[in-house]
Subunit: 320 residues, 2 copies
């Protein structure tokens, strides 16, 4: 079994190849070609932590993956990062372990950011006049970096609750070449951007229907578990195109679940991302529609990114 | 994160300490103090393989464990062992990975064999006149080895379907000091032994009620998944004491499930192993009772054996 560190993984991977592997994975998932056992969750109450184990295999492919990811939210006070994790790649022909990817959670972050790029490529309006980001953390940064490949727009409005975090994000985005406006008023994001990504762990709606410009696309990646919400249900209900990574999962949590439970939208109007990417369903039809993508994260992304990371590391580091 | 090989793990562990850790684990499990998320299963049809991921945390303890175990039944033809696997131990305080135990399935085998020793210690008749083993594989060997610590009886009857495998087992058991009878007729095991362990992947009953001597204790470890069965339902129904490692799991599969579904026994008569080990329930009451233990394997065993293996390796190999 090969063992690769985060540094080795980051150095070996090419983002456009990784994105294509994710596209293939979403399509296989929506075609019912992926074995996805139930997610395992732990709650470590006293330590303010949690862990989830996600596993997947695309039927017929050579490898399957088991991912362990942890979040311990008191870690920063101990000088440790909140998130950690690793992925194991095993042979689907013999069961033997092939690679341990000690990515410390990076592969989960990048597969989520690339999914944001993938849905924006499919759903964003033709002319992007401004990018809006809600949140200032690692995912807020990675989403912005991955959007740069699909648009030359360098106007950014970023929302956060914390002034210092906003200033730090401004420095980051400026260094990427963005003209940056920071704000603690989410309405300003909606007023200045028609491509918005929400990346927060919020438990109450941050964006309201009335603020959104016609033609805007919104990708929501923050609500990855029960109780989380970033978008007002009326905004969800008014979106003309709603894409989700997994209908089965988004029924249970994520932005969509709230509107579904209140009867404001019907399951039949949901489009699974894999159908859209396979060209089996139409997405945006004009520049006036509001489109929405709700990404809760599916294990097939982990399987695809891990398989590619292993391959990329083996090619970049043949001596290991 | 420390990485330990099977050889290092086998060399570092003391079986009596490991057994005590399992006892503690069974008790914690039966007291409802263990988080056990649903088992993840994969089926690799074409490759004739499967994989299961079992995870557990005893609430309040310092570590939790994720175990991956695989069985690929065409592997021997490729010169590879059928079973492989590893366990990961992570901190329940910070989420950081602590150890990767590359045990290749050995820890699962030994925790199962030790569970056999533990139930035999609790339920076997006072005088063991003969030991019987059904099966000739790895688990059949490890069960016998672990029983040696609790009885001086060295009379063994072993059943198998394959003559060569029986002869190989005879050689193994003779080297341990046993007087060995091999047979392809399971009735002979029942006639000559009052402590029997069944270790096969059989899908039909191998032992019948009429053959069993009064006072016999039977431990069944083979039926670890749907469709498997080693004991006739009438034998199960007539046992005066029935102990299971997990009532919840044994309702779904294992020996007990068949008799339960046919209404031959009631769930109320089942004794969970942790209650017995904690002294909260009586087990065998006299030397005439037939007692039965159905062990389907619970993830708390993995958590306990992995935590101990990591500790033992750290003590035995401080320089690593």
């Amino acid at each position: 079994m090969k063992i690769y560190s985060q540094t080795q993984i980051v150095g070996a991977m090419e983002m456009n190849v990784a994105a294509q592997r994710l596209v293939d994975g979403f399509i296989a998932y929506s075609r019912g070609q992926v074995q996805v056992p139930p997610v395992q969750n732990f709650i470590f109450g006293q330590a303010n932590g949690d862990c989830c184990v996600k596993s997947a295999w695309i039927e017929g492919s050579e490898h399957f993956t088991v991912k362990i990811s942890t979040g311990f939210y008191d870690n920063p006070a101990k000088g440790l990062p909140s998130n950690d994790g690793m992925m194991l790649v095993l042979s689907a022909k013999t069961g033997q372990p092939r690679a341990l990817l000690q990515d410390e959670g990076w592969l989960t972050c990048i597969r989520t950011a690339l999914a944001g790029q993938i849905v924006a490529r499919a759903l964003a309006p033709r002319v992007i006049t401004g990018i809006g980001i809600l949140g200032t953390g690692v995912q807020a940064r990675m989403q912005l970096e991955q959007l740069m490949a699909l648009t030359s727009c360098r106007r950014l409005t970023v929302w956060g609750r914390n002034h210092m975090a906003l200033e730090s994000y401004r420095e980051f985005a400026t260094s990427l070449g963005f003209e940056v406006e920071t704000t603690q008023d989410a309405e300003q994001v909606a007023r200045h951007a028609n491509l918005i990504v929400t990346t927060t762990p919020s438990r109450e709606a941050l964006l309201q229907r009335a603020w959104i410009q016609p033609g805007t696309h919104i990708t929501a990646v923050g609500a990855d578990g029960g109780g989380k919400q970033e978008l007002d249900v009326d905004l969800v209900a008014s979106a003309e195109v709603i894409v989700v990574d997994s209908i089965e999962q988004c029924r249970r949590y994520g932005e969509i679940s709230h509107a579904l439970k209140q009867g404001l939208i019907r399951q039949e109007q949901l489009i699974e991302l894999g159908w859209l990417l396979a060209g089996e369903t139409r997405g945006r039809e004009n520049d006036q529609q509001i489109t929405l993508a709700d990404l809760t994260g599916v294990a097939v992304q982990d399987a695809q990114i891990a398989d590619y990371a292993m391959q990329a590391c083996a090619e970049a580091l043949p001596g290991l």
